[in-house]
């Protein structure tokens, strides 16, 4: 049996005119399938409209307020992580671009020679810095007391530690956390 347009009339929200209502009634008398489906829908619709609006356990807004510091911290961590991921991504992309440029610009042999040359240059520079530092230390008058060395190296060491600590804090917790 053809259930259209009666099925639409049963489940649509539109108001039926008197002719449509009459033909739907006639169809429901003849079609047991549509009749049982309509009855089921009307019964469920009735139950749904009678079903209450469920409320949360008392103290919902207080719990929301109490959760704010935790949520802020979580958000800051999320943003810090996003920032670190962004930086790492940008660095990786730049590195890949550089490699791409090198590969397209030069032959693999040139690239290996260039890399080795850079490593050798870094080693030579390091050696030169070391020699300059040693010569400065040797040229200093012998009467410079040990205490002066300690007072110079200790703040520098502390500054380095603070710098490392600040970097860790920014990457792990984020900016703005109290």
């Amino acid at each position: 049996m053809n259930h259209q347009p009666f099925e639409n009339w049963i489940f649509e929200d539109e108001t039926l005119n008197s002719d449509q209502e009459q033909s739907l009634k006639q169809h429901l008398k003849e079609c047991k399938t549509c009749e049982s489906v309509q009855k089921a829908w009307l019964s469920l619709q009735d139950k749904i409209t009678q079903a209450p609006t469920i409320a949360p356990v008392p103290g919902f807004s207080q719990r929301w307020l109490a959760s704010l510091p935790q949520r802020r911290l979580r958000e800051q961590r999320r943003q810090a992580k996003k920032f670190v991921v962004f930086l790492a991504g940008a660095a990786a992309l730049s590195f890949l671009l550089l490699i791409g440029l090198m590969i397209t610009d030069q032959s693999p042999l040139d690239w290996i020679i260039g890399g080795l040359h850079t490593i050798a240059q870094v080693a030579i520079r390091f050696k030169q810095i070391q020699l300059v530092a040693l010569s400065i230390i040797k040229s200093l008058p012998p009467f410079v007391p040990v205490i002066a060395w300690i007072s110079l190296t200790l703040p520098l060491g502390l500054l380095s530690l603070t710098w490392i600590g600040a970097l860790w804090r920014i990457s792990a917790i984020g900016v703005g956390e109290k």
Partner: protein
Amino acid sequence: MSNQEAEWLTDVRQGNETAFASLVEKYQRPVYNLCYRMLGDSMEAEDAAQESFWKAYQAIHRYDPNRSFATWLLSIAAHYCIDLQRKRKLPSFSMELVPEDSIPGSAPNPEKVAAQTEQEARIQKVLEQLKPQDRAAIILRYWHELSDEEIGNMLSLSVSAVKSRLFRARKKLAEIWLEEEKSINSERKHHESPAF
């Protein structure tokens, strides 16, 4: 929107979180109800409702005062619950009993309470069978009495898409309900048969 609500919103925009707590107090019930009907579990509904308010608080500068605040808030909660349902793929309704004190006017009569909780469980069970977006459309229509246009704005759907989703959802609900009724009736007949 009431004057009080507009005042709260102005205060929230200036960073007053206590003013937002007043809005939470006012809208906790509809938001929680939507989350509960979508997820079917009171713990999950509590978390989802709290998270929805947090999302709204964070996005308060994007709220258009010409729109209804309640609709905007429910839209955030509906999208959040739909995403949750999609992430977990399979719905996991716990079929837990609704706490007695969360039903308005619930009588202390144990029989009545038992009947109400059983009915709630049946309603949740049939809602579970719907796709998250269809379920959201049904909940917004029948529990929050929103129009097709409002539902469409909230779920980012056209009015005709809302109509067809509601049609499909109603048909499916009716078929499931009919099957349930049949199985309950056959169980009753089985228990009432002279052999027992």
